[in-house]
Every structure is written in C-alpha cells, then in structure tokens.
C-alpha cells in the first residue's frame, strides 16, 4: 500500500481563475523519503494542504495511509505530522512550552517519544526557557520539526523546511530526516533547492502545478537525453548572447561561472565550436563535457513544457 496517493488532483483559486495544481497524480511508498522539487509558486504548498486535509481539491482524490483526504480527514489528522512552510509555533511561548503543548494536543507526552526527537531536541535543549520567537532560523526549524514529530506520526509532511536556513543547518536538517527515515516514518518534503533533491529517495519535479517527472534523482539525471557542455570565457555575459545567436546551439544557461550548453547536432565537435567562439573575439575559452545535475534536468523539462 502506498503511504500517500494523489489521483488526478486539480486545485484552483479565485473561483477557477488561478490554476495551482493541474491534474497531479503521485504515489509515495511507505517509509520513503520523497521530495517535491519546484520553484516558488509551483503548487507545492497546495498539494501539501490537500494531503494534510486543510484544503479541498476541485477534482480528483487523495489518500494518506489509505484514508481518504475528504471523508476520513479526522483519521488522517491523528496520523500525520505537518510542518508548514512558515514558522508556525507560538512565538511568545518558550521552547519547552511549545513542545509540551503540541505533545499534549496530539495526545502524547515529550517522554513517551523522546527517543524519536532526542537528536534534534538535544541541540535546542539549552534554550528550553527561551521564547520561540527569539530563536535563530535554524533552531526554529528544529523546534518545529520536534513539534511535528512529538506524537510519532506515520507520515511526516514538511513544507519547505529549509527555506531561509543557513547552509550548515540545512545539512544537519537533512541528516536528521535520514535518521527519521530509519524509524519507518514516511517523509514527504518540498524544497525549491535543487541540490537538496539529490538527498531524497524519489523526487517529483513540479512546475506551474504540473508534475514533469517522478523518479529517483539518479534516474532523472541519467535520462538526460543529450550531451551537456560547460563553457567559460572572460566575458561571460557577451558569450551568452553570442551563443544564443549561433545556429548550432540548442540551449544555453548561465550556471555560476559557467554556461551550460546543449547542441542541436549530437556529434558536433567541440574544437569547431571553440574556434567559432574564439572567432567572435572571446578569450580564455574552455569547453568541457559535464554530468548534468537535477537543475539541468529541471530546466530541460521546463523548456519542453513551454515549447
């Protein structure tokens, strides 16, 4: 049985004017660490809210642990943990009070599931008596995760848990998620950061409310159909505009200090390309073939969609 099922879910806002989720079907297996990857406004939060029974879909059906999100919402609510995208704990209560409150609210106690949150809680325990509003961003997220976990949920929904959190805390956070996974909790997490996609077991790439691809990150990358080049020169901006005017170039995107490039002709020669570029007055041109990343796949899917 799948832990989470979405079956042709469509959701619109403003009486159908804004399409947020467009005919999405998904399945998340039990015990899986599943990622919803997409930019802001892709529809991730809407999907989360439908699954956490906070929103009703216009069309389609959704289920969590076999319970229907509309009919059996009460069942679902006692089985899931949810961490909304915005920090949603009581800012004027202390760390301990927040944790106590949410534990009791879900009919549990801090002690009974202490082992589950111990690793995370240990890090914020020194601030037990500090008000939640006065915590740093990373610590807030850890506290929120503790509060979402305190009743030992079967499925954990984390909506952009690392947005606005520093790099070190982000890494710690993902380490914690991996540990939680070993406890048998199904985790559905959303993120706009492509690098975090690699840390999930399976991911869904989502854009404009549509799922573009669902698979393991490795398979999605392996399915990249063409060779990918990275090009660098002294004037990177002029290089980009020049490349876009060249007939043999298919796509080109600035990517850090490099430009990621695909060519229309698969067998094209890089030396010929290099010469063509140098003829246009570019200096220090380097071209190399690289392994695509999730972001490259994402951009490729995005372009296919818009074509």
């Amino acid at each position: 049985m799948s832990a989470v099922t979405l079956d042709h879910i469509t959701k619109t806002y403003d009486k159908g004017k804004v399409l947020a989720v467009d005919d999405v079907s998904l399945q998340v297996a039990e015990g899986e660490l599943f990622g919803l990857i997409g930019p802001d406004g892709a529809g991730k939060t809407s999907i989360f809210r439908i699954l956490t029974t906070l929103l009703l879909a216009d069309k389609g059906s959704a289920a969590v642990q076999g319970y229907d999100c509309v009919k059996d919402y009460r069942e679902i609510r006692s089985r899931i943990g949810y961490m909304p995208g915005r920090f949603s704990l009581y800012q004027d209560l202390t760390v301990k009070e927040n944790l106590d409150f949410f534990a009791t609210l879900f009919g549990s106690t801090i002690e009974s599931n202490y082992d589950l949150i111990k690793d995370i809680y240990d890090q914020i325990k020194p601030f037990n008596d500090r008000r939640a509003g006065k915590l740093s961003g990373g610590m807030k997220q850890k506290l929120a995760l503790c509060c979402a976990l305190i009743h030992k949920p079967e499925v954990l929904f984390l909506d952009e848990p690392t947005t606005g959190v520093d790099v070190v805390s982000r890494k710690e956070f993902w380490d914690m998620l991996k540990k939680l996974k070993t406890q048998g909790i199904t985790i559905v997490v959303s993120t706009p950061y492509m690098d975090e996609a690699m840390l999930c077991e399976r991911i869904a790439l989502i854009q404009n409310g549509k799922i573009m691809s669902v698979d393991t990150p490795e398979k999605i990358i392996a399915a990249y159909p063409v060779k990918l080049y990275a090009i660098k020169a002294d004037n990177i901006y002029r290089l980009l505009t020049d490349l876009r005017s060249m007939p043999e170039v298919d796509t080109s995107f600035a990517f850090g200090e490099y430009i990621h490039l695909t060519l229309k002709n698969e067998r094209a020669d890089t030396t010929a390309l290099q010469q063509a570029i140098e003829q246009r007055g570019h200096t220090h041109v380097t071209i190399k073939v690289i392994q695509p990343g999730i972001e490259d796949s994402f951009i490729r899917f995005m372009n296919q969609d818009s074509k």
Binding site: T53, L54, L55, Y73, R77, S78, Y82, S88, F102, F106
Partner: protein, 368 residues
Amino acid sequence: MKQFLVFIRKEFFHVFRDRRTLLIMFGLPVAQIVLFGFALTSEVKDITLTVIDQSGDVNTQQLIRKIKSSSYFIVNETSVDYNEIEDAFKKGTAKSALIFPPNFGNDLQHGGKAQLQLLTDGSDPNTAKTVINYITAITTAYQQQISPGPRLPYTIVTESRMLYNEEGNGSLNFIPGVMALVLMIVCTALTSVSVVREKELGTMEILLVSPFKPLLVLIAKAIPYLILSLANFILILVLAVFVLDVGIKGSIVLLFLESMLFIITCLSLGLMISNTTNSQQTALLLSMMGMMIPTMIFTGFMFPLENMPKPFQIISNVIPSRWYFLIVKSVMLKGLGFSYIWKETLVLLGMTTVALTIALKNFKTRLS
C-alpha cells in the same frame, strides 16, 4: 480533557505575556472608571458668578451671603462696571453674572417688589439652566424668609425626592454603562483577535491538523477570556463601591450571574467576528467600530434612548449592552429581583444563542 486544560493554560500565557492585552484588559476599566467618575462629570459645581451690586444694602448683602454659602458658586465681587459685563462674556472671563440694580433693598422694603438680573452663557445650555435653577431656588428661599406676617392663603410647596439616588451621586448612572462598555470591548475584541491571531501566525494550520476537535479550539479560546472578564467585572464593582461610593442594592449573586450571561454574549459575538475575518486589524476594527460605538450611543447611559428618533430606538434593541445596562441598573441601583429583569435576561439569552450558532456553524475545519 487534558488537551483542553493545556490549551487553556496556553491562552493564559498569551494574555499574561502580552502587555498590550493586559493593558486593555485591566487598564481600560480603571481608566474608564476614573474618567467617568471624576473628569467627565455632568454635575455643575463651583461656577464662577460675577456679582455686580449697585445697591449695596442689607438685602443684597444677605442674598449674596446666601449664594456664597451654597457649594455651587464661587462669587466674584470685583467691581465690574455694568457696561463692561457684555465684554466680559465675550472674552469668556464671565460665565454668569448677577446684577442688583440701584435701590434694590429700597424697592423691596417699600415697593414690595424688586428686580434683579441674571445673565448666563447660553452657549453652554446645561450649565446656564443649572445656574438659573440654583439662583431662583436661593432667591425664593430668601424671599420666604423675609416675607413678614401671614402667609399667602394658598401655597404649593414641591417636596422632591430622587429615588434610588437621594444624594444625587452622578456615578450611579455611568457605572452600569462603563460595565457594559468594558466587558463588551474586552470580551469581543480580545476573543476575536486571539482567534484571528492564530490564523495570521499560521498556528491555526497546525491546530487544525491535530486530533484536537476544531470546536474545542473555539471553546478553549473563549474560557480564559470568560474568567478574565469575570475578574474584570469584580474589579469594576470594587472600584465602584470603594472609590465612587456606589452601593450595590440588589443581590450580588444575581448581578454576577447576569454579568456572566452578558460576557458569554460578548464572547459569542467575538467568536462570530473571528470566523469571518482573517487579519487581526480587521477583527479589531470590526469589534471596536461595530461594537464600541453602538454601545456608547445606544446603551442609554450617555444619551437617553427615549429622546432618540424612532428608527434609532429600534436599532438600539439589537445592542446587547442596552439590555445588560437595564439589568445592572435594576439589580445594582434599584435592588430589584429576577422577576423584574427576566425579559431582558431572555433577550440576552436569545442573542447569545444566535451568535453562538452562527459562530459554530461558520467555523471551518479546513483552511478557507
């Protein structure tokens, strides 16, 4: 049940950690009582009365002494010329003036009839009327005192009594009004804001995604404010009794129960507002504008309802504080029992049922 208690404890934390809430909660009633009790009094006392005595005889002196000895006037006997008195009124240095013409005593003694002139500032009609009444009363008393010999064959003497308030304590009228006003603001505004705050901060999302029943959220939200409002009610009573000398004539238990009913009415209104708004500002504005101003105007403690045009009188019927005001007046000031206020109680009960039903019906178990 344990969840419920923890929830209520959490609400108390919110209240006690927010200085603004505390200030509204307990600062407001104290400020209102002090303001209405001492500053905004409509009683007229210590009016400056300019006296121009052009006669200066025994009679005028006696009359002036009588006026001085009453607590209403501060007599100003500076020798202002009669022709300057109009200027003094224009400048505002005189608000009322009493002018004895020359030969006042002579006319009185020999002619049997004398005239005096009383000028008042009609731009403040309330004070002006009071001054006229006071001076007339004092001169009438003096006239009777000096009238020699047999009384007139027919005299009518008005013996007046102010029932329920013999000393004319002005605080009596506004205490019930302030109680209605403060409870209304505290209950309605604070409850509606406290629910909406959860929506605004996003904590409502988590509360909804918990096994805790959504309806219990509403009830758990209301209970702390019920308790705090009752504490508030007691605070107002204590202030009224010990600071403003307003006695409680009727049954305290009855007053307490009726106040509790009114508080529940207000809480229901607050919950009703909170279910239909999504931001604290809107909630506050709605409960302040929608509740406070009608309460001030249509309760009857500031402006008598009987004098209002018919449509306004009809509108006043839907204002809960109007009925509570009548109840408090009857129980606290007149010492009446339940048999005199059952109608008002029934109206409040009805309003509570309607508001609570709307609030519960509209409570969403999901977002939007």
